[in-house]
């Protein structure tokens, strides 16, 4: 008996089955002439946090809507938690939690009443109701405020309540569509702290969209989406590695001499009139050897690591900015154009 367990335990450790929580295969969505999402394919592994990063109008929300069965793909297919989003929408819906860009709470109800409403609609067993509501309120630190009306909540609290609600029916995948829009930096940080802890404690897969670079860093893997296509997909570290190495910037008493000296020692150094830039693999660890090999006096040292802004620039040729695209989503623009 004991050996059996160990054996099977070992077997699963050596060959972990690549469990996909979301499988997307050539998914496309067109609004009339406008192709919002173009043959997108990717997998999201169970238990990971996965970010969809792109400017407004890139197709992020359109994709998330198809995965949540709220919108029908024009072609291609997708499975969420093992169910087809087109053929088994109800099975998908009961296994996902959703947090939208805009608030979807009833402000005239208390937090607990909002949660109870959700629990009943998602079929949480009656005998688990109270303990489950208590548990999710606890998870987001609102256990003391359960009896308060939502209209008395701050924006950050409402958002946390929505995340708690999305987890009420123990979903396998949590979808967050631009979850921190309109929240202040402290609240945003607090929210991500909650989400990542929930991922660990509840074992839920987290899929989120964002156009904030710093937020994408919370993901284990990032898909960069632009004009409806995935232009890159990897871990934050690997994406940054594509952009290139770290650089050390020096300001010295004699930049020309310093550059000559460093080059003769085999460093990739260049002087740009404003200082010396040395490209190295590991910025921080290279600083001592760079400085000790110089005869000229060093006035300033800084290390620049490539960030996601550089990554986005590399793949799309432009900077991502909150105001880079029209604020209307593609779907809304389409509807608006049809109404006219």
């Amino acid at each position: 008996m004991t050996t059996d367990v160990t054996a099977s335990g070992l077997a699963s450790q050596t060959a972990p089955p690549p469990q996909a929580a979301i499988t997307v295969d050539n998914l496309s969505k067109a609004f009339g002439e406008l192709e919002a999402v173009k043959r997108v394919s990717f997998d999201v592994y169970a238990g990971e946090s996965f970010a969809f990063l792109g400017p407004n109008g890139a197709g992020k929300s359109t994709t998330i809507r198809m995965l949540c069965t709220l919108s029908q793909p024009t072609s291609g297919s997708a499975e969420v938690a093992g169910y087809d989003v087109v053929r088994q929408p109800r099975s998908v819906r009961s296994r996902i939690g959703l947090v939208f860009q805009d608030q979807t709470l009833d402000e005239q109800l208390t937090a607990a009443e909002n949660l109870r409403f959700h629990a009943v609609l998602y079929g949480v067993p009656r005998e688990e109701l109270d303990s489950r509501i208590g548990r999710v309120l606890d998870l987001v630190g609102l256990e003391e405020r359960g009896k308060d009306l939502v209209q008395d909540y701050s924006g950050g609290m409402s958002r946390r309540l929505e995340i708690a609600r999305a987890l009420l029916h123990t979903p396998e995948v949590l979808f967050l569509d631009e979850p921190t829009v309109g929240l202040d930096p402290q609240t945003r940080a607090r929210m991500w702290e909650d989400v990542l802890r929930l991922r660990d404690e509840e074992g839920v897969t987290v899929f989120f969209t964002t156009h904030y670079m710093d937020e994408a860093e919370y993901a284990e893997r990032i898909a960069i989406i632009d004009h409806g296509e995935i232009v890159a997909l990897d871990t934050p570290a690997a994406l940054k590695a594509v952009v290139g190495k770290d650089s050390i910037c020096l300001s010295t008493a004699d930049d020309a001499a310093a550059t000559r000296q460093l080059r003769s020692l085999g460093f990739d150094a260049a002087s740009d009139g404003d200082g010396v830039t040395i490209r190295v693999d590991e910025g921080e660890s290279a600083v001592p050897s760079v400085i000790s090999s110089l005869d000229v006096a060093v006035r300033q040292v800084s290390v620049h690591k490539p960030d996601l802004d550089d990554v986005f620039m590399q793949f799309t040729g432009r900077e991502i900015r909150a105001d880079s695209g029209p604020s209307m989503s593609l779907a809304r623009r389409f509807v608006a154009s049809r109404r006219r």
Binding site: Q88, D106, L121
Partner: protein, 291 residues
């Protein structure tokens, strides 16, 4: 142990069919949506009061104002006449207001929370309609309690019958309202609905004057107005308990005739029921279509 492990992938492999909705789950959903309407009603004190303002004005201001002008027949006067009509008005107005709350639900995003849940639209719409019906019946009951103030006598039978008719009327009108609310995209359009539908329907229902002896075009409008068929049985039930002489009855409550046929109450109520069911079906079809 081994078998367990080997069996697991199969046990986890999802069926190719989508889950069937269970009746229990549907009923629980309807019940929850209904309960939410009641909780909101209980919290919105101002809504309760404003909802009663209009019928109270009609009853006392119009009632006392017109009584001398209309005169009385064997002790039966205009304020007694208008009483059941005013109860109906309060029920109908509340029904439409309850239904219109869907537009607010959309504005505040809660409609989305309902629509993305793995439940049927039928359960949601029925819950909404029953919730609106319950709240409206309560409003009607509050008005009914004012009966002694205008000298209208209530018996247990009258109370029960008024309740039953109010509930049916409220249900039908809420379904009617839900249909419009699910198509109204902007709350501003609500005024339009009020002006062009609710007020004409109320005025042409026989609630404020008997729908007889009118010019033929007005007569026609009252006869195609579904509310006429809800108000008529309500009036009859209330008047029947007042010991009104035939002369007064003939003046204030002549039988409701369509092409010379006196429509009996059971038929009137069936018409109201069919109207409600038809709009329930339409509401289910259009509810959340464009979200």
């Amino acid at each position: 142990m081994h078998t367990d492990v080997r069996d697991r992938p199969e046990a986890h492999a999802p069926a190719k069919q989508d889950v069937r909705l269970s009746v229990a789950r549907e009923l629980a959903t309807t019940g929850m949506v209904w309960r939410r309407e009641l909780i909101r009603y209980r919290r919105a004190r101002t809504r309760v009061i404003t909802g009663l303002m209009q019928p109270i004005l009609y009853l006392f201001v119009l009632g006392y104002g017109l009584t001398p002008l209309v005169g009385e027949t064997a002790g039966f006067d205009f304020k007694k006449f208008v009483f059941p009509g005013v109860v109906a008005m309060s029920v109908v107005t509340t029904s439409i207001f309850s239904a219109i709350s869907i537009v607010w639900d959309r504005e505040f995003g809660f409609l989305r929370e309902m629509l993305v849940a793995p439940v049927s639209r039928v359960a949601l719409v029925v819950g909404k309609a029953l919730g609106g019906a319950t709240v409206s019946t309560i409003q009607g009951a509050i008005m009914l309690a004012l009966a002694p103030l205008v000298g209208v006598r209530l018996t247990p039978t009258v109370v029960i019958a008024v309740f039953a008719i109010s509930m049916l009327m409220a249900f039908s009108m809420t379904c009617f309202g839900v249909f419009f609310a699910s198509r109204l995209k902007k709350i501003e359009n609500f005024q339009v609905v009020m002006q062009f539908l609710l007020l004409p329907m109320l005025f042409l229902s026989g609630a404020l004057f008997p729908p007889t002896g009118l010019p033929s075009w007005l007569m026609f409008l009252t006869r195609i107005n579904p509310l006429t068929y809800a108000v008529d049985p309500l009036k009859r039930v209330v008047y029947a308990a007042q010991d009104i002489p035939d002369a007064a009855l003939e003046r204030f409550d002549p039988p409701l005739e369509v092409f010379g046929y006196a429509v009996p109450s059971w038929l009137s109520l069936s018409i109201v029921m069919m109207f409600g069911v038809a709009f329930l079906a339409l509401s289910i079809r259009s509810f959340g279509k464009d979200e």
